[in-house]
Each structure stands twice: as structure tokens, then as C-alpha cells.
């Protein structure tokens, strides 16, 4: 083994990689709205770094500060993506409307009315399941960081 990452950490990594592939694959390739793709990359990569760091002692002070810094940015990215996912994106709604307009209002209108949006509870459950590896990594990182914060403050 080249790292100290436990098997269950590996499972979280694999599930996270699958979620990353699913989410980034679903985002259409194009040059507009690149910020969202970058936010998504941060959202997945930073918790990955935190999860890897979880299995190491991080005895040096600089490493502890770096870990806390990465955790802070990762939590911001997670909060940003969660708010975006739960509240929905006005721009994407516009895109959908434009697409419906292009592909023929009449045929789409019927389908859209049948294809209703899920309720907020289902949205939260879906988001939590899809992003559970990221949330688990952040939870573990917070658990590791709390004693560091207490020592440093």
C-alpha cells in the first residue's frame, strides 16, 4: 500500500469518483457557465484531499493550518453547491424554457406538465444520497479538525 487510507476510506473515494463522473457528465460541455463546473470540481476534489488527510496524523502546525484552510474552502463549496441544488438555478430554468421553445412548444408543453418537479423533501434526499461521499468526507474532516481548532484557538 502506498498510502495509509483504510478500506472504507477507499470505498468513499470510489463512490465519490462515481458521483463526480455522473454529475460532471450531466453538465453539458460548453463554454458558458464555466464557473459552475469549476465549483463542482472544487466540491469533489477538496473533500477528496480532506479525506486523504484524515488518515494522516498532521503533526506539523503548518499542515494543520493548511488542513483547516482546505476544510474552510471545501465547506464553502459544499454550501454553495447545496444551495444551488436545493433552490434550483434560475439560469437553468431559462435554458430549459429556451430549449422548449426551440424544440417545439406544442409537443414539449404536454410532456413538461407530466414531468413535474419533485418536492423539496425528495430533492434534499436525492441530493444527500448523490453527494453522500462528499458529505461523509466533510463530516470526517470536521471531526478531525475540531480538536485542532480547540488547540489553535
Amino acid at each position: 500500500m502506498l498510502t495509509q487510507i483504510e478500506w472504507w476510506g477507499g470505498v468513499i473515494f470510489v463512490l465519490g469518483a462515481l458521483a463526480y463522473r455522473l454529475v460532471l457528465g450531466a453538465l453539458e460541455k460548453g463554454e458558458g457557465y464555466d464557473w459552475y463546473r469549476w465549483l463542482m470540481r472544487l466540491f469533489f476534489v477538496l473533500p477528496g484531499v480532506l479525506l486523504a488527510g484524515y488518515f494522516y496524523p498532521l503533526e506539523r502546525l503548518a499542515l494543520q493550518y493548511a488542513y483547516l484552510g482546505v476544510l474552510g474552502v471545501a465547506l464553502l463549496a459544499v454550501a454553495g453547491v447545496m444551495v444551488q441544488e436545493v433552490t434550483g438555478d434560475a439560469d437553468s430554468d431559462k435554458d430549459k424554457a429556451a430549449k422548449a421553445g426551440r424544440e417545439g412548444e406544442k409537443s414539449q408543453a404536454g410532456e413538461d406538465s407530466e414531468d413535474e418537479e419533485p418536492g423539496w423533501l425528495m430533492t434534499i434526499v436525492g441530493v444527500a444520497v448523490l453527494y453522500s461521499p462528499v458529505l461523509a468526507a466533510c463530516g470526517l474532516a470536521c471531526h478531525k479538525a475540531w480538536p485542532m481548532v480547540q488547540r489553535l484557538v
Binding site: M1, T3, I5, E6, G10, G30, E31, G32, R102
Partner: protein, 279 residues
Amino acid sequence: MSQNAHTLHLFFEDSIRLKYAQLVYQYIAEGNTAEATRWAAKLGVALADLWDAEWFNQQVTAAPGYLQLNFDTGTSDPLPLSPLVALFGHGLQAAVLDVFYDQVGETQRMYFDKGQWVPRSYFLALYPHLQTIVEPAHDPDDGDEPGERAAADAHDPAKPLSVARLLKDEAKKRKEAQEAAEAFVEIAKAMGKNGVKNTMDGVIGVVVLGSALKGLLHAAVFTVVAVLLFKGLWLWLGLGLVLAIALPLYYATRTHSELKGDGGDGDGDTDGEAAAVGS
């Protein structure tokens, strides 16, 4: 002979560069390449980027504020994006490309703004006064609402996309299609030499086998990486074994259904299969 008829409307940032571009294309239309090259140099671009010698039936119409080019290309020629890429770096502000595919009798219209391929609605929101220039006038006899025909003809990107990127993507797609077609021909030839009677089934078999091998390779890479990075040797070996069975089956089934058109077409539709392999 079938051809694709193009109408390209070019709107420049200033009248000087509009004039330069007009001179370039007027000299091209007259067949005076030397003068066209000279004016292209004044514009700051190479003539080869502005015009392809394979294009024909060229006509230039100069109007106050814009330039209209009409020309034809072969049906298998790519979209004429290179002039747009070149001109957007040298004073072009907006453009609309209208292509009539006379083989199928369909029109496709693409809208460009500041080096980006944009949706029609976006373009018309920026330049509402250009609608009457770039889109055909509404004909009440058609029975359509005003703008309905133009909206149907619009070929819009899902999101704004740079013309340079579009050109690169198109070139890549053409190269891949050509390579796939060449590979298909090679495989078919090899099978013919080896006495395989139904070449199409043979080619499909080879492609399906290739995708199964790709699945096996993915499983192997996953297992090696997981074993090296994470503790739990037996867990990762077991998972790798499961993937080594599941991934080849999944990839092979997916490729087979793609080639066979979900199995609904039967064996008779060999042309469709060839097109699928070729693409």
C-alpha cells in the same frame, strides 16, 4: 449535382474593416487572387483563412453596415467556420450563417456574436434591428406565425460556444469519423481475405470484442489503483473480479445494441449498421 448553399452575413465593428473585407471577397469573386491577398493582408489575415479554393458560385453583396456572401460547397464539406474564426479576431462583431442543404431541402441558420456561437434568441436580443436582414421576410401565405419559420431553422447551441472551439470540435469529429471508416474498411478487407462470408457481422463482432476488452482494461486499472492506494487487499481484488466480469459484459452489450439499433432492425439493415460503425 447536390451542394450546400451558404449565405453569410458579416457585421463589422467599423466601416474600414468592412471595406477591406468587402474588397477581399469582391476580388475573390472576380478571380483576382493577387489583389484579394493584398487586401486580406491589410485586414491582417491570410487569404487561405478567409476562403477555401473548393468553394464555388461565390457572390458578394455590399450594403451599408454589412457584407453578404453567397457561395456553395460540396455536400460533404464542413461548415465554413475558418473565415469566422479569422475575422472575429480582426474587426468582425457579429455574423449569421445560413446553410441550405439541397439534398434534404432543409435550412440551418447559426448566429455568432463576438467570436461565440450563440442562440438565436440571444442574438436577436442584442441586435433586434438585424432580424430583417439575416432572416427571410415573413410570408403570410405560409400559414406560420411571424418568426416561426426562422425559429425552426435556427441551429442553436445549448450554451454560447466559441467559434474556434466549434471549429476544433468539428475537425476532431471529422477526423474520428474518417479513421473509423478506414478501420472499418481494413477489417472488412481482412475478413474478406480470410473467407468470412458475412463481413458486416464479422466487423460488429470485432467492435464488440474491442469494447469488452476495454471493459476488462478498465477493471484491471481500477483494481491496481485501488490495491496500491487503499488498505483491504481482498476487498479490492474481489471488487476487481466482479468488475472484470460486469464491465466487459456491460460495454459489449451497449456497443452491440448501438450497432444493431437495439436489435429492432434485424440483419437486413446493413447500410444502417455500416453508418453506425463508420460514425
